[in-house]
Symmetry: C2
Subunit: 499 residues, 2 copies
């Protein structure tokens, strides 16, 4: 085989991987958007076959030999090809260490878990979910042992979601946040309550859907390649390449802000995913590099832009046209209402200031379960204790407690810290962006295009070409500093509460 032949075979291999990814992501998406409720087992059969085929494709002798041949002939590859070979070899070596039957069994377990978790959440029945959650934690521990027996298992998974992340970094990062956030939240709690009545009332789902479409258009999303659907829990996915990205939301008719901000949040993910260079489609370089960088984009759009004082000028008239009951609301009232700081039960609905404490609780629990210091059985009690300790609130039931998130049923252990990390990256991106753009003036007009262009140029177009650390370095040209995020949050509290 010549190097050129190997490059062609590499392109073919990646197209196949993309096709399996397309099929499996779509089967999952169908399950959450429109499948009849008795069909999970049927999807399980297809996913089990397809994940087995994918496993065989990825770990097969032909693939490993191809990648090792290219790796041995690195000097004939350009930077993009080198990165592809590196990323694929890393994944495939990890995958090959997991026995195929265990790999496939885990895929099947996750299909079942999604189903059981939905029921458990609906009925607030942790006992129903517990045996499956136990298996998920056990599998993550076992797989970590297969992949790198020398490494701490939780460190291994943290690093999977955000290259370079480990417990030591997280502990330090969260302590830094806690030091300034806890007194800030206390101070806010002593101020007069913010009036949030403009966000309450009845908001017809079909009108919220119109607002969602307006937001997507205003965010300058390419609606020929980004779609919107309805699910219980909002998420973003893509099918095979950055040419087909889907976001989802959920309309609560008594609550206009949930769907509104989930669309902006998922819209941020979708913009990042769909912003990869065209040549990256159907290669390992396509899409976002890490969950931390991903959340830095989604939470940037949701909070830094979407909850800015300036954006209120632009969005409020549109909302008034759709929801006449908001007719008398002023921009200032709306700004305060969408930025109210209040310890609450649900992470995805939490304000910017208390948000990181929600993440910290999940991090503490995962870390201790993975270290064998906390039993899965005891998660609910520990969850409730930590909500009392960090946020001062009582959790009424597991539906509003440890069953609220889909991450664990989806097998994602070690994902949560990237939400806090991404939020902190975002604040530093903003400071940098303001050197080039008048962000407030753009937001007041709802003109997202220059902001998208800035992020596309510095982040999106590179897909997975650079590591998260390299991306940060390219954008910032200075070290990551969580104090910038804390400054941003204090400034927000000042604007809303005058403290």
């Amino acid at each position: 085989m010549t190097v050129n032949e190997a490059k062609q075979a590499l392109a073919e291999l990646q197209r196949k991987m993309a096709a399996y990814d397309h099929a499996m992501s779509l089967i999952y998406y169908d399950g959450t958007t429109s499948a009849p409720k008795g069909t999970a087992a049927n999807r399980g059969v297809a996913l089990s076959v397809l994940s087995e085929e994918e496993y065989k494709l990825c770990t097969g002798k032909e693939t490993v030999e191809l990648l090792e041949f290219l790796d041995a002939n690195k000097e004939e590859l350009d930077d993009k090809e080198k990165r592809i070979v590196y990323l694929l070899l890393k994944d495939i070596r990890n995958m090959a260490k997991i026995p195929m039957d265990e790999y496939v069994a885990y895929e099947e377990l996750l299909v079942e878990a999604d189903d059981v978790w939905h029921t458990a959440k609906e009925t607030s029945d942790f006992a129903l979910f517990e045996p499956i959650l136990q298996k998920i934690f056990d599998t993550n521990l076992r797989f970590a042992g297969y992949i790198d027996p020398e490494k701490d298992p939780y460190d291994l998974w943290l690093n999977e979601y955000e290259e370079g992340l480990n417990k030591e970094f997280c502990d330090k990062f969260f302590n830094t946040l806690k030091e300034r956030l806890v007194p800030l939240i206390k101070k806010v709690g002593e101020m007069p309550q913010v009036d949030t009545s403009c966000l309450k009332g009845y908001f017809l789902a079909s009108d919220q859907e119109k607002l969602a479409h307006w937001l997507m258009r205003t965010m300058a999303m390419d609606l020929d390649h980004i779609g919107l659907a309805t699910t219980e829990h909002p998420f973003t996915t893509s099918f095979g390449s950055h040419n087909d990205v889907r976001i989802t939301t959920h309309y609560y008719e008594e609550n206009v802000s949930f769907s509104m901000y989930s669309v902006i949040h998922e819209g941020g993910h979708a913009l990042y995913d769909s912003g990869s260079a065209d040549e990256f489609a159907y290669t390992a370089l396509d899409g976002g590099i890490s969950m931390g960088i991903h959340e830095s984009q989604s939470r940037f759009y949701e909070n830094i832009l979407g909850r800015s004082r300036a954006f209120c000028n632009c969005v409020l008239p549109v909302m008034k046209a759709l929801f006449p009951q908001m007719g008398a609301t002023t921009e200032e009232e709306f700004f305060k209402a969408i930025n109210v700081v209040e310890p609450s039960l649900i992470r995805t609905e939490a304000d910017e200031v208390t948000y990181c404490l929600h993440v910290m609780i999940r991090y503490e629990i995962e870390k201790r379960v993975m270290a064998g210091e906390l039993a899965v059985h005891d998660i609910p009690a520990e969850w409730n204790r930590l909500y009392k300790e960090y946020l001062g609130i009582d959790v009424p039931d597991d539906k509003h407690g440890c069953l609220q998130d889909s991450h664990w049923s989806g097998g994602s252990i070690g994902y949560f810290p990237s939400y806090a990390l991404g939020s902190a990256y975002g604040a530093q991106f903003l400071r940098k962006m303001k050197e080039d753009l008048d962000v407030d003036a753009l937001m007041a007009k709802g003109d997202f295009a220059p902001i998208n262009a800035w992020l596309r140029e510095k982040i999106w177009q590179y897909g997975c070409l650079y590591t998260p650390a390299e991306i940060l370095d390219r954008v910032l040209g200075e070290p990551f500093d969580p104090q910038v995020y804390l400054d941003y949050l204090e400034e927000k509290c000042k604007a809303v509460y005058g403290i």
Copy 2:
């Protein structure tokens, strides 16, 4: 390999085929239900890879040897296993005769064709669709030559959709229909017009959706395994097995009957598909045996049951509750309105009596294009000429003419006759069913369960175990006789027009 090992390998092979089928059907379904409009090329990439993988799986040495080994050891197989081996070998031998690159290229062509056809139809631009339609006819001719160079190409495809069907049978069948239908339609045309005003007006899509769900429940469909979605053109599909079946409809707010009868029609397909014996899931025996038998079920529910005088008793009160403007409509008026006989442009909206003439026109055109007697370029003119000759109406544009159906863009040449054939089967099934059940009394109550049970026992449960001819023989115990259908249509005209 022992026969028992081979049987296990056979089960595994069929699970894999089912998974590819699941993925590819879902990708197609996604394209019609919710994909953003610029994503067809992206789906094309995945479909091209998956169809190539499926092709390799089916025609690979391992598969062929397995099936031939089992075929050589037939005496150790039960009837079901024998039938599976027969069906798979037949398909695989056909497939293997088509070069893989041509097979995959055709799959890619169909993805493009679907996209181009939609645009062509929207803009009534046959010239846009013509080059692709030419390729589709050419490919069908070429593939027929690969599969059986001795056989007439159109006969070969007719036989694919309905085992045993050929041009000779179709010519005779359609002539039989024409002999009695043409004078019948003429006689009806001389009678006073039926008042259809109760079906006109404004019917909110969301209320039509409620009616659709009521119809699905009333038809005793298992809603845990049968779903409903919205598409431009109604269709039925299943994913991997009879455990997940989907129907689609389209709501026109100025026309209540389109969505109503498309739901009942597709519901008939879905009942048949989902009625296979449980043990047939993930095998070649799962689902319906042929398009003729399939249409015999869908059109049985749509017309014989759904447009019966008795069913009006049951459905009209529900419609009145949803659409108050129908408050004064009598059952007799409603019955006549849904059974009006009137030459019209659109096949899927045609009444029972003129319907077969629509089918006959498509049959004539396909037959002549496949025989080289009609150029693809001349289809619109010929279409319009035949509509004038058979139905006495002028076709205003190709959108309402030869671009109306999705079959050709989907690559289905030879499918149309099964609609007429299925309709005729259905009338003979009704005569037989009436020996066991008081169909009118059941319909007046909307009690579908005994009817479903009768059809499940005699037809659905067998999936693909028997040929269409064997199914007919088992149900009827007498030869197929299109005169029964013609008697049924005359009786309907008598009830509606008093002739």
